[in-house]
């Protein structure tokens, strides 16, 4: 039978305390624990209290698990020294904590009155709906009043947002925007040695260095709690230090996370450096992992007993007790009393937590996922920008005075108006500033609104999206641009795992509003190949709560963009604005020179409500449902079907891919009894799957068909057309559907 290491660690701590020889009692607890150390005896005692609270929370969680009352046992045992990091920071220094930062969490709670970190953590592991941050949806370290946004990250995917928050904190100061934290605040994030290897972590660290290297302030503290092992895989000895000691623009601080005095000195130095210099620092704390990776982890299967015992011998609680008792700061009796009292408190609170109500309906579970208040969004979208701000931005030449123009221009104008309307709005991405983007969509905006608000980033989509999340945390309204849809995929988790989940895991207490602009889709006359013609949106469509807008026409684009930004502002919505590259410059619809795809710019146009499509035509023979490029082609085909075959169609532009305009889909389908879905995305996982499913779910009993792109990557040249939906495909499918009328 496997030895219960939790019990061993617990008992050996008490044995250790009983064997220590007390030093002469200290007369002044407020003196330093040793010459030259910043840590006082009293603070050491208080940190020790936080450490044992963290330890007993781990033990209580495992005890609850044995009663099937806990659902999470990854703990902080061995990492409790992070309490000293918290003590070096202010409770207003926003902290993104990984799952082993229990010591940090408890200690920070000590800095703010009225906190109950013990009960809160236990409500978390028991999935109680009273848990104050995630409400039973996950066990996280999070708290609004402690400036700790909840993280469910397992792979350091919270590091980009920490960099983003630090960047935005400074950027808001430069822009003269208010902050709800002191101006010299810093941002801290914690993670392990194993996850420091993840590309997301390295990308974030790189982005901080890249900024700092060119003197762009990024006051972020990276705290690596290095226990030397990632589940069962050892980190090479010395790797973390070697990998981070000499990064340009970032200062490295190292120390023992096992010894309170050393840990506190290192943390104090690192925090002081970041706070004063507004540059990133890497605080490398050597710790140990006790009790295995999680409660379910049989550590004995990959570590020898000697190795396990060697780690246990380095228990930071034992070391802290040694410091306190041998230094004369506390008696063994006091240490034991604190330890046992905390055990009793955690046990009692565990019982209370276990009995608290759980989430009992699916509706309860999803309630905070993506709140949407259409009336408020509409009112916000209708709210006009300050006329003077508009005039200034457009340099006296208002865009509505111009002739009807194409999609790219109308998006540019809407962005300009939004920059005038929202001082906190920032627009960024690769090449968006001086160059104005690859397709000139952001042309002139950096000059008009200032380089502080419209700026280029480094070439890293994780950083771009992380910056957007962090900007939201700091109260800004970000519009990041992903240059091509295919470039999103390497960073998709920043939307899926991070931005999209924040309101869900914080019951809306934290929000990261954003509108991610992405240039996408194919039909670029065979130019550019797969990476510039990607037509896969499946990866976005199933992100819960994500709003996906995809306009086809310029006037719709402007109205939809205003709605998305209003939703971000009102409800903290995370929106993706998927722009069809091939239509950016398209001016004509049916024939060259007809100018029918140009639209006038109306700053006061009615907003486009989320999940509401647009119908063209009133035909009774066939309903064609599409969007973006497919919609443009469908309009052309509809004209030909009428002229050449006498078929009268109605064409529905979905406009929103999530949520789909279900009511419009059903109404327009029923109107003709025949539906053709024109889907420029892939046959598998494409949007038409959702549309047809909606029809079936809605009880539509008419005829249905679809044309969709092949399940393939897009090739170069004319071969692209072989796998993409063509107008003749649409026409043939339409005729087949109506039975050759």
């Amino acid at each position: 039978m496997a030895v219960n290491r939790a019990a061993v660690v617990d008992q050996r701590f008490l044995q250790h305390v009983s064997r220590l020889t007390p030093g002469p009692a200290q007369a002044n607890l407020d003196a330093a624990v040793a010459p030259g150390r910043a840590l006082t005896g009293r603070l050491a005692l208080q940190l020790f209290e936080s450490m044992i609270a963290s330890r007993h929370l781990d033990l209580a969680s495992r005890d609850l698990k044995s009663r099937d009352a806990s659902f999470y046992t990854i703990g902080s045992a061995g990492h409790e020294g992070s309490a000293a990091v918290a003590a070096s920071l202010r409770p207003t220094d926003m902290a993104f904590l990984h799952y082993r930062s229990g010591g940090f969490f408890v200690q920070r709670a000590r800095q703010v009155p009225g906190q109950t970190p013990l009960l809160d953590v236990l409500l978390g592991v028991t999935a109680a709906k009273d848990e104050p941050i995630a409400g039973g949806r996950h066990k996280v370290f999070g708290s609004k009043s402690l400036y700790i946004p909840p993280q469910t990250s397992t792979i350091a995917s919270h590091l980009p947002k920490a960099v983003g928050a630090a960047f935005t904190l400074e950027r808001r100061k430069r822009l003269g925007l208010p902050l709800d934290v002191p101006e010299d605040s810093v941002i801290v994030c914690t993670f392990g040695d194993a996850s420091s290897n993840h590309s997301t972590a390295q990308g974030a660290i790189n982005a901080a260095c890249w900024s700092s290297f060119q003197n762009v302030p990024v006051p972020v503290l990276f705290v690596c709690e290095d226990n030397g092992i990632g589940i069962s895989v050892s980190t090479p000895s010395g790797w973390v230090a070697a990998n981070h000691q000499h990064r340009p623009g970032m200062r490295y601080f190292g120390g023992s996370g096992l010894d309170l005095d050393e840990c506190y000195d290192a943390a104090q130095a690192a925090v002081a450096y970041v706070r004063e210099h507004r540059r990133p620092a890497f605080l490398h704390l050597r710790v140990v992992r006790l009790l295995g990776h999680a409660g379910s982890d049989v550590e004995q299967s990959y570590r020898s007993e000697e190795e396990i015992e060697a780690s246990e011998a380095m228990d930071p609680l034992r070391r802290a007790a040694t410091l306190l008792i041998e230094g004369g700061w506390a008696s063994p009796a006091l240490i034991t009393q604190l330890y046992e009292d905390t055990r009793a408190r955690c046990a009692a609170l565990a019982n209370e937590a276990a009995d608290r109500p759980k989430l009992t309906t699916a509706e309860e579970v999803v309630a905070p996922l993506a709140p949407r208040r259409p009336a408020e969004i509409e009112a916000e979208a209708r709210r006009a920008p300050d006329p003077d701000a508009r005039l200034k931005l457009w340099e006296g030449k208002l865009p509505e005075a111009d002739r009807p123009r194409h999609l790219a221009v109308q998006i540019n104008r809407a962005l300009g108006d939004l920059l005038a309307k929202y001082p906190e709005l920032m627009l960024f991405g690769e090449d968006v500033a001086k160059k104005g983007g690859v397709y000139n969509v952001t042309t002139g905006l950096s000059r008009r609104a200032g380089v502080g608000r419209v700026f280029n980033t480094l070439l890293d989509e994780q950083t771009i999206l992380g910056l957007a999340i962090g900007a939201g945390h700091m109260g800004s309204l970000p519009i990041p641009e992903i240059q091509y849809l295919a470039y999103l995929h390497n960073a998709e988790d920043q939307l899926r795992g991070e931005a999209g989940s924040l309101q869900f895991f914080s019951q809306g207490q934290f929000q990261n509003p954003m509108v991610v602009r992405i240039a996408g889709y194919a039909y670029q006359k065979g130019f550019g190949g797969h990476f510039h013609n990607d037509n896969s949106v499946a990866v976005l469509r199933d992100i819960p709560g994500l709003v996906i807008a995809s306009p086809s026409r310029g006037d719709d684009a402007a109205a939809m963009l205003r709605t998305c930004v209003a939703a971000a502002k009102v409800d903290g919505a995370v929106c993706v604005f998927l722009e069809p590259i091939a239509l950016y410059m398209t001016k004509d619809l049916h024939q060259d020179g007809d100018g029918l795809w140009n639209t006038p710019y109306d700053p006061d146009a009615d907003p486009a409500p989320i999940g509401v499509g647009r119908v063209t035509g009133e035909g009774r023979d066939l309903t064609i449902i599409s969007w973006a490029n497919g919609h443009w082609m469908s309009q052309r085909v509809a004209r030909r079907l009428e002229e050449q075959h006498g078929l009268r169609c109605r064409v529905l532009d979905l406009r929103w891919l999530n949520p789909l305009p279900i009511e419009d889909i059903l109404r327009e389908a029923v109107a003709t009894g025949r539906v053709l879905v024109v889907d420029e995305t892939r046959r598998t996982g494409g949007v038409s799957e959702g549309v047809l499913t909606a029809l079936i779910d809605g009880g539509f009993s008419g005829r249905m068909a679809r044309v969709a792109a092949w399940d393939t990557y897009i090739p170069l040249g004319a071969a692209a057309n072989l796998v993409l939906v063509q107008e003749h495909d649409i026409e043939a499918a339409a005729l087949k559907l109506v039975g050759g009328k």
Binding site: L29, R110, P113, L119, R345, A348, D355, R356
Partner: protein
């Protein structure tokens, strides 16, 4: 609950004004605490606690006056605690309501009995012929003891009146601290409300506007008069009326600072205090020692707000109280007292 496992109790010491008509003649005169406090009072030429308790009836002008009521409540409460049976009761943390904080300091060992008594007598003495403003009660909970939106709205609006401050958040009750003008405004603004034999807004007789900025001079005076008070780290954890935890390793200076400054001039938030204490110490029950049972309802209302042990309203609370594991144990009630006393 087995005989060998004492109940883990959160001790909540009552504020001034708890000693009322029903308590005449009930102070345990043989208590060592009372004897020490009597000696202190005699030395100062003031009526002893035992003498105050031995009057033939309750005289509001006498028993409710700050210079008497404070130490009477203090002594009564601490004397009560002498009866606790360590086999039945284990105090895991100590809190107090308003002046009860001073009693809590003694009960938790942050001050010795006589030093805490000096604190009480000094601050209570300031009140002698010197009532500053007034304290007024108004409910924020309904008859079911759940928070009531309309009443809460009335209170929040009233807090905007000139000369009106929040003095205490007391479960489903708000205690305003106010100037004379504020008092008139409260009486004019708040609708009359009858609860049992009490009519709200209800002014507490002879009470100053404690825990408000109107007490700034009192705070300043106390800091001078009590600057040599020998504060200690408590031997039992405490939670203040600001929700701050003061554990066994707390700095005595921090406790002194809180007690003589913000505790005097800032709102005393019993709701936050109990929330923090319950969530940090997880007691089996809240123990109410001392005269009367004035904090019973407030405590219950706070526990309902917290959803403690699944409580949703007054009915739930009454069910729990009738069970073998009551959540509030009042030493004023013989059947509950028996659960924790010899």
């Amino acid at each position: 609950m087995s005989q060998t496992t004492p109940r883990r109790l959160l001790l909540l010491c009552p504020g001034r004004g708890s000693y009322g008509r029903a308590q005449i003649g009930t102070l345990p005169a043989e208590s060592p605490t009372v004897r020490q406090l009597n000696a202190l009072r005699a030395e100062a030429g003031r009526p002893t606690l035992t003498a105050l308790d031995a009057t033939e009836r309750f005289f509001p002008a006498l028993h409710l006056a700050g210079e008497h009521a404070s130490l009477l409540t203090f002594g009564y409460t601490l004397a009560d605690l002498e009866s606790l049976d360590p086999d039945k009761a284990q105090t895991v943390a100590v809190v107090g309501n308003s002046m009860g904080w001073y009693t809590a300091l003694a009960a938790a060992g942050a001050l010795s009995l006589l030093d805490a008594a000096r604190l009480v007598e000094t601050l209570g003495g300031y009140q002698e012929g010197n009532v500053i403003g007034a304290q007024v009660l108004y409910p924020t909970a309904g008859d079911d003891w759940r928070s009531h939106a309309v009443l809460t709205g009335l209170v929040e609006d009233a807090l905007k009146l000139p000369g009106v401050y929040r003095s205490i958040r007391l479960g489903g009750m708000t205690v305003f601290g106010c100037t004379r003008e504020g008092l008139s405004a409260l009486n004019e603004t708040l609708p009359k409300l009858q609860r049992g034999d009490r009519t709200f807004p209800l002014q507490l007789p002879l009470h100053s506007a404690f825990h408000t900025p109107l007490m700034a001079l009192t705070s300043a005076r106390a800091q001078v008069d009590l600057k040599d008070l020998p504060w200690r780290s408590p031997t039992l954890p405490m939670v203040g009326g600001d929700g701050n935890h003061y554990g066994r390793t707390a700095s005595p200076a921090a406790i002194a600072r809180y007690t003589l400054t913000t505790q005097v001039t800032d709102p005393f938030d019993l709701n936050l205090c109990l929330r923090a204490a319950m969530g940090e110490h997880g007691p089996d029950a809240v123990l109410l020692p001392g005269p009367g049972n004035s904090l019973g309802a407030a405590t219950a209302q706070i526990l309902i707000q917290l959803g403690w042990r699944g409580l949703r309203d007054r009915r739930d609370f009454e069910e729990v109280q009738a069970s073998p594991r009551p959540l509030v144990i009042s030493m004023d009630r013989p059947e509950q007292r028996a659960l924790v006393c010899r």
